[in-house]
Amino acid sequence: MKLTHYIRPDCFIAELPEKTREDALRRIVHAVAEKGYISDENAVFAKLMERENIQSTAVGNGIAIPHCFTDEVPDLIITLARSRAGLEFDSFDGKPTQVVFLLMGNRKEHSLHLKALARIARLIKSTSFIERIVASSTVEDMVRAFEQEEGKI
């Protein structure tokens, strides 16, 4: 599977002004709703927070991968948001989160969801993806970095 098949660049956010996990997730979900990919943003936000309350999805080194299953989407949707200043995301290493991958998958597509999470894990560990995303000037740069770095794995 290729993550680039499922990303929605029109929902990418180059700079999140928010400071907290809750506010940032609301903003990202709202951006996805504005583009018409989901209709009930409150339901999706509640699902994401339900997952966050089990354990934070901030995996350290400035990265968070919030995700949920929802009937709102027929297929996997992945979007990306960045905060240069960093977000308080309850990361296990205590560092602020600068890059947020958000995944929404249909509950019938568990396997695809798992594959995407595994591929993101490999992408952020084995490439200079995060450095390039943080250094990107525009959403277009973020998309280009995504495509090029994923091509390496």
């Binding site: 396997s111 594959k115 595994a118 591929r119 894990a121 490999r122 560990k125 084995s126 794995i153």
Partner: protein, 110 residues
């Protein structure tokens, strides 16, 4: 069906290898802590003078095996090639598949 067999020269790549397997839909595998021949033999006095021969020996490595479909086997080898590959000095590990002639206890996923 195939038996996928991976021997990791270094445990550092274990997490990435398991993530790679998940990516191709392999959700079950057995992981065994193991020790390479070089790590044992370099402590045998007779071979003490040849330590540089075994310098790549790590204190711990891993074997991973899983029974997977033919399709998964092809995809798994492709992703493992990217993760393990062969560096300029030494390979990070090896992986191969073997055909399974017969088996019991393996149920088809519903």
């Amino acid at each position: 069906m195939k038996l996928l067999f991976i021997i990791l020269n270094s445990a550092e790549k274990l997490e990435e290898v398991l993530e790679g397997l998940l990516e191709v839909g392999v959700t079950g595998a057995t992981v065994v802590d193991s020790v390479g021949m070089g790590h044992i033999i370099e402590d045998v006095p007779l071979f003490a003078g040849m330590r540089n021969v075994f310098r790549s020996a790590k204190p711990r490595n891993n074997m991973i095996f899983s029974v997977i479909s033919d399709t998964q086997a092809a995809e798994a080898m492709e992703v493992l090639d990217k993760i393990l590959g062969c560096s300029q000095d030494k390979g990070r590990g090896i992986a191969f598949t073997l055909p399974i002639d017969s088996s019991i206890g393996i149920c088809k996923e519903s």
